[in-house]
Amino acid sequence: MPAAVEFRSVRSTEEAVASLSEHGSDACVIAGGTDVMMQYARHELSPAVFVHIEGIKELTNAQRDGSLRLGALVTHRHLADDPVIRTGHPALAEAAATVGGWQTQGVGTLGGNLCNASPAADTAPPLLVADATVELCGPRGIRRVPLEEFFLGRRHVDRRPEELLTGVEAAPLGPRQAEVYLKVGRRGGMVVAVAGLAARLSFDEQGVIAAARLAVCSVGPTPLRVRPAEEALLGLCPSGRMTDDGYTALEEAIAALSGAVSPIDDVRSSAAYRRAVLPRLLRRSVEVCRAAVRAGISQDDLS
């Protein structure tokens, strides 16, 4: 019989780091517990101590001055409802609104979603396209890691056992820029993504794509930013509702995207379906961003 586990609630980052330093990899951080409790019940975890962090009030805030700073304990409901996030980071708000049901979103946290590092983590693609950086606090101070480098493998991140993820910093939308998160599932709610794609696109005065960020989830061991496909999109001029010609112009980006992903067959979908749906997500994301930027510009003209 395994030794009894201990449950310790901490009130500050310092207290959490002290606990984690004391127990090292025998400790398991628990925030909302929506991943941890199930993994524990399935015997995928056997920690000596749970370090419960929901009481660290300073990690529950979302602040915007220039860039957006999200505490690790910001919940999915908060991300989905906060007007500042909905306007500056609509793809992130949309993604959070699709995580499980209200019961999951009310306690499930951003930090938990990123540290759990599921291939299907919905907040990851929108944060990857916002050039997000995670902040880790350890006994020797703070370390910042680009989110792109934080994901090392399925459920494996660049976090040392004594470090707490304290926050995430992300760049908000700029002028003539739009973003979207598209998630494919078997039904409208309570689904883990079969495939997900976030795009953040900038357009110049002529409507030509001047900068592009693309990221995907559920099509490889980790959420992934797809730089070759981003490059292929530069210079593209999608017009209105895209015609077949417009689609042809996207082929290079689609090929680059297909080359970068490594989907598998699993209970939710087949690899073949995932490959089939990705090009459609990319096309739609370009249409949606183009339409959003046009609408934004005509709004500016009116005001």
Binding site: F7, G33, H52, Q103, T104
Partner: protein, 155 residues
């Protein structure tokens, strides 16, 4: 084992829990409150929904020791002490939103939380709020009717 203090349905309770106990185990086995139901044990069905500081959560995947110092509301805590039902409970009865009844406590708590923050939700808002609660009898239609009856749901 460890001792925690928490508020349950407005009363302060002291309970002994295992460090790895779920809130659902504490409520049903420790405190004898059987309103929250044990079904999927994976946060998928919502039959165990309770409110934690007013927020709907799945008690089956929430750690009991994490509730120390916090307020839990279960279906037993909704009606008045004299047994008078809340308007939403009354509407569930009137519209036939209760069939086998197994999912009912979970729906009531989710929907009470919705109406507390948004007293006149649109039907779309009601549907979205209920995404984490499964009902296998009613097809949800009567549940939507019940909310409409108390909230004057907008079209």
């Amino acid at each position: 084992m460890m001792w925690i203090e928490l508020w349950v349905n407005g009363s302060e309770r002291v309970a002994e829990v295992r460090p790895d106990e779920t809130l659902l185990e504490l409520l049903r086995d420790g405190l004898g409150l059987r309103g929250a139901k044990n079904a999927c044990s994976e946060g998928e069905c919502g039959a165990c929904t309770v409110l934690l500081d007013g927020v709907p959560i799945d008690a089956c995947i929430y750690a009991a020791p994490a509730c120390a110092g916090r307020a839990v509301t279960t279906v037993e805590g909704l009606a008045h002490a004299d047994g008078e039902l809340t308007p939403l409970q009354r509407a569930f009865v009137d519209t036939g939103a209760v069939q086998c009844g197994f999912c009912t406590p979970g729906f009531l708590l989710t929907l009470h939380a919705l109406l507390a923050e948004n007293p006149t939700p649109t039907e779309e808002e009601v549907r979205r709020a209920m995404v984490g609660n499964i009902c296998r009898c009613t097809g949800y239609a009567h549940i939507l009717d019940a909310v409409a009856q108390v909230a004057g749901v907008k079209e």
